[in-house]
């Protein structure tokens, strides 16, 4: 069928998806995270990564960093929908500013002996990962960096006895002297 059969199925646009990192400054009140997550699930938006923590205790401010994907039109909608929520102060598209730094922290547990163990340690050193726990048959590495770097590190650890990974999700901040 060339023509969509219903207004509900018309979104036949094949605009390519983009990945954007959004920084959302919110009033730290009960349920605010549920509101943000509910918006994403209710409207069918994607969450690739979500990080939240109180950033200014005295002003009751929390900062939520969300990595999301969608067509440019959907990304624009997401920002507007977030911005109109009552406890939301500001929404900044860190990807659009092109002047932001993104970091993620991961803890990576690797189990192995002999050559694998030595190789894991060597790679960790190359990636500037720190050993934060060690037994005779395992390490826990702490690694910080952007998402790609961490993915790469985890891929390398896989054949060397990767046991589990715990990641914080992405935090982002703008370069230069100005705040958001």
């Amino acid at each position: 069928m060339n023509q969509p059969a219903s207004a509900y199925f018309i979104e036949d646009r094949h605009d390519p998806n983009e990945t954007h990192t959004l920084a959302v400054l919110v009033q730290n009140e009960p349920g605010v995270l549920a509101r943000v997550i509910g918006l994403f699930s209710g409207r069918g938006y994607n969450i690739e990564s979500l990080t939240v923590s109180e950033t200014e205790a005295q002003k009751h401010l929390s900062r939520i960093t969300i990595v999301t994907t969608g067509t440019p039109m959907v990304i624009e909608q997401i920002k507007h929908q977030l911005d109109r929520m009552i406890p939301v102060y500001r929404v900044v598209d860190m990807t659009l500013t092109k002047r932001s730094i993104e970091r993620e922290l991961a803890m990576v547990k690797v189990r192995g002996q002999g050559e694998h163990r030595v190789e894991a340690l060597r790679l960790a050193d190359a990636f500037r990962a720190r050993v934060i726990d060690a037994t005779t048959e395992s390490f826990v590495f702490e690694i910080t960096g952007n998402t790609d770097k961490i993915n790469q590190f985890i891929d390398l650890m896989r054949p060397l006895g990767l046991v589990e990974v715990s990641r914080t999700g992405v935090a982002a901040i703008g370069r230069g002297p100005e705040g958001m």
Binding site: A5, A34, Q77
Partner: protein, 591 residues
């Protein structure tokens, strides 16, 4: 007791709620008591400034509050208990959210120490209502209550209006704390809707309007929400520019139906001339409407050749469904004023004579045509008769949802805003009867008519009891075709005429039902009796159930088959089986 007992601002949470209502100018609320709101009901009992209307089901309270709000422009207030009281409010809250109606719902909650314990009549009210309110609050400390209540009224009524809910545990209602009245200086920290439009954008808009050859103004409920100024300015803009104007379902009445530039409603069941004008225009000015799917039809074929200006107070409405060229964010009254000022100063009335000639040709298709009968009442004819009988009277119309609603929108001419209360976005069957209750409470001396269907009206029929108790002379004008007409219409058009569960096998005798409630029942079968019966209905100063037996199989046209473009309308004279089959080719996927 401490010295504080003499401080007039020291009071219980329950007393604060009533006090806040009074401070916000609330004179009427709609509610239903229960365990978790008894302290509030005790306070209501001991005062006379706020009148409480006891409904028969919490959904009725919500829709009544909506009707009250839509007909007055003031926020509607509902009071319900915890658990089922709150869950029964979900439909009206969602309805108000979709149609941007200011609603303040106060719900009782189990005491704070029981929250999360699966206590009797406990539910996660803020969790359940989070996606169906503009914002909601659970108040755990009585000293936060005043601030939250004032904030609730502010959020409900400012920016794009909407429903809010304040959930108050019973122990907070009993606890004593400090109340403070609403203060002008209270600025919300994170919520400040933009009111004033951007001057550069306004200039761009005026430049487009001034050079338009085939313009159209497409207005919506936002104009009515904005207030009387917006309506006045919209009318002035039409006058100054000479442009044709159409409106969404929600926007009816902002421009008078008798106005010479009026094209009728647009959209799925809009007029041919309105939809063709939208399709072929070169400049579209959308004021306070949101390009809903019932309006646009097929989005990729929506008004393909036009530059679009979109005025909306909600930035998330911009570019949501349709890409626009000149978005202007702000209050439409404010922006219309600015546009008019610039237009008057710098532009002159464009010559659009040939455009009007084209429109006249579309109009000549007479897309609302129907064939009258002497044997059976046509529903369109019933609405027209009702309109004639109430013309010039101080009338408010509510509706349920379905064919009767579309016929009401097509055939009842609205001259003023706030006179038309209908469930547009959510499409809530059962909205109209309780909404009429709310409208009549707000306007005790006016004529309030719910144009209803036989199926819809049974969803909230219990509120007839409310109407009788408070001597609210609402008129329930039922277009009784014994079907869920719109469901049946779609089954006929799209599902091989298999009328699955759309026939009401066992309708009540509406006349006897009215009498059982202590109201007046009227029934009419013949066209010849219709006028007299309507006169009688209007003259009775009591609630009336009017059982208007209409042609059972009449369908609502014209119609844009869903998923088609504005210029692919199905007109009544074409609605034979073959044309219908063709228009709906592609099939059952239509929604």
């Amino acid at each position: 007791m401490s010295d504080k007992s003499h401080d007039p601002n020291q009071m219980t949470g329950a007393a604060m709620i009533v006090r806040a209502l009074i401070d916000h100018g609330v004179t009427d609320i709609f509610g239903y008591p229960g365990g978790a709101v008894l302290p509030i009901y005790d306070e209501i009992f001991q005062q006379s400034e706020v009148q409480h209307i006891l409904v028969r089901h919490e959904q009725g309270a919500g829709h009544a509050a909506e009707g009250y709000a839509r007909s007055t422009g003031k926020p509607g207030v509902a009071l319900v208990t915890s658990g089922p009281g709150a869950t029964n409010m979900v439909t009206p809250l969602t309805d108000a959210l979709m149609d941007s109606i200011p609603l303040v719902c106060i719900s009782g909650q189990v005491p704070t120490h029981l929250i999360g314990n699966d206590a009797f009549q406990e539910c996660d009210t803020v969790g359940i209502t989070r996606p169906c309110t503009k914002h909601n609050w659970l108040v755990r400390d009585v000293n936060d209550l005043a601030k939250v209540l004032h904030e609730a009224f502010y959020v409900a009524t400012s920016g794009r209006p909407g429903p809010v809910l304040v959930d108050v545990p019973k122990d907070v209602q009993f606890a004593t704390g400090t109340y403070h009245p609403p203060r002008k200086s209270d600025v919300h920290r994170s919520y400040a809707p933009r009111v004033k439009g951007d001057a550069t954008q306004i200039r761009k808009a005026v430049a487009l309007l001034a050079n338009a050859k085939r313009p159209v103004i497409y207005s919506g409920g936002g104009v009515i929400n904005s207030g009387p100024d917006a309506t006045k300015l919209l009318r002035e803009l039409v006058e100054v520019t000479g442009f044709p104007i159409t409106s969404t379902l929600m926007g009816l009445g902002a421009y008078p139906a008798s106005g010479k530039n009026w094209l009728g409603m647009l959209g799925m069941h809009g007029t041919y001339e309105a939809n063709m004008t939208m399709h072929d225009c070169d400049v579209m000015l959308c004021v306070g409407a949101r390009f809903d799917d019932r309006i646009t039809g097929r989005v990729d074929a929506f008004s393909p050749g036009s530059k679009k200006i979109h005025i909306d107070i909600d930035p998330s409405s911009i570019n949501k469904n349709i890409r626009v060229d000149v978005p202007i964010i702000g209050d439409c009254g404010n922006i219309l004023g600015d546009i008019l000022q610039v237009f008057k100063a710098e532009a002159k009335k464009p010559d659009i004579k040939s455009w009007w000639q084209q429109i006249a040709q579309w109009r000549a298709r007479n897309s609302l045509y129907y064939k009258k009968s002497n044997d059976v009442i046509l529903p369109q004819h019933a609405i027209q008769s009702l309109f004639e009988a109430t013309r010039g009277k101080d009338t408010y119309i509510t509706t349920e949802v379905g064919q009767h609603q579309m016929w009401a929108a097509q055939f009842y001419g609205f001259e003023e805003p706030h006179r038309w209360m209908t469930s547009g976005g959510l499409g809530t069957m059962g909205y109209g009867l309780p909404a009429a209750v709310g409208v009549q409470v707000a306007h005790p001396d006016s004529l309030v008519i719910d144009i209803a269907g036989d199926a819809s009206v049974q969803m909230t029929m219990q509120e007839m009891s409310t109407a009788v108790q408070y001597e609210l002379p609402i008129k329930i004008f039922i277009l009784n075709n014994q079907y869920m007409g719109m469901v049946r219409q779609w089954q006929q058009l799209l599902h091989g005429n298999r009328l699955s569960h759309s026939y009401s096998e066992a309708l009540p005798d509406f006349v006897k039902l009215a009498e059982a409630y202590g109201a007046v029942g009227l029934q009419v079968h013949k066209p010849v009796d219709l006028e007299g019966a309507i006169k009688e209905m209007i003259s009775v100063k009591r609630p009336v159930l009017f059982d208007c037996r209409v042609a059972a199989l009449e369908n609502c046209f014209p119609m844009i088959p869903s998923g088609k473009a504005h210029n692919e309308m199905l007109l009544p004279e074409q609605a034979n089986d073959e044309a219908t089959a063709k228009a709906f080719a592609g099939g059952k996927a239509l929604v």
